[in-house]
């Protein structure tokens, strides 16, 4: 993939994440902040499907943006073909792992498997 395409995705995910995280933060104002961190309240959020969808999208956007950022930082730290390949594939794998693990949590919580 061309670097400009990757950076378009990088900037796009940043803008998307800022907007959705703002919505997520605004949701905190619907109740007392300390209440919003209560166990029941958190589970209720996950079980409200549109909200669970919002969290899933935030997870994907931040993972893409964050791991590409990490890739960029690591590429600037050291150079070399093998190193760069390892960094690129490593970051991609880590990104998928985080998305998979986070999605699993969201799905389990919204399906009620977590009590």
């Amino acid at each position: 993939m061309r670097e400009s395409t990757i950076m378009r995705i990088h900037y796009g995910t940043a803008l998307g994440a800022v907007a959705l995280v703002a919505v997520h933060v605004l949701f905190r104002f619907t109740q007392d902040f300390s209440d919003s961190l209560q166990y029941e309240s958190v589970i209720a959020n996950y079980q409200f499907l549109p909200y669970a969808g919002l969290l899933e999208i935030i997870l994907v956007l931040l993972s893409i943006h964050g791991f590409n950022g990490l890739r960029v930082v690591l590429l600037e730290l050291r150079q070399g073909r093998a190193y760069e390949k390892a960094v690129s594939y490593g970051c991609l794998a880590a990104m998928f792992a985080v998305i998979a693990y986070g999605s699993r949590t969201i799905i389990m919580a919204s399906a009620g498997t977590v009590s």
Partner: protein, 258 residues
Amino acid sequence: MARRGLAAEAAGTAVSPSRTVTLRISRENPADARGGERGFSVHKVPVEKWTTVLDAILDVKKHIDHSVAVRYSCRQATCGSCGMLINGRPRLACFTKIDELGADTVTVEPMKNFPVVRDLVVGFERLFEAHRGVKPYVVGAGGSGGPPGAAEAAPQTPEELERFVQFSACIKCGLCNSACPTMATDSSFVGPQALAQAYRYVADSRDKGREERLKIIDESHGIWRCHFAGSCSQVCPKGVDPAMGIQLLRGYLLGFRK
């Protein structure tokens, strides 16, 4: 008999008193078999209002220590040979008056982000290679470089010229590359000098090599590694503003500019 003296207007001219400054010259010879460790030679040099840092170094070279290695040629900020760190900032030695530094001690060191050849002389291979890499010439309709054909030599409007003329003032002195923080960590980064030149030709209405050139800089150590610190533009002695050129180039890559 009337006394002969200075004409009235000349007599009114303030004559700058000469003073003495301490000149610390970085000394290093990496090729030295004994290790070539870096140190400083310290000299007291008399300066006038018009004395440049290069003048002072050449004074030392002429009268005190002829082994000081320094590269220079035009002595008028045109050839781009005499770039060095002067009191910690990349500057042209021939274009920096000691007086304007406002310091009693002047420290001169080789530019950062370049390999040291000896003392104040650095190797420009990486800069020239990156510069050549962005095809710094008007590419003709057939995709060739070299002297322009009839179409490329076509006159331009003042507006068309305005888009790139500032960037054609680059003298390849390397001060921008020396100030760039990405250059310090990323040994494969193409650098602000080459990127500014890429913009200079991309923005030229006669050029037919835009796509090719944009492709060259659109890679993992290309234009996207610039973090817009802006230090390149701060130190450029010719007002080229490489940081702006880089942002304008990004506009082409992101589709904001045509």
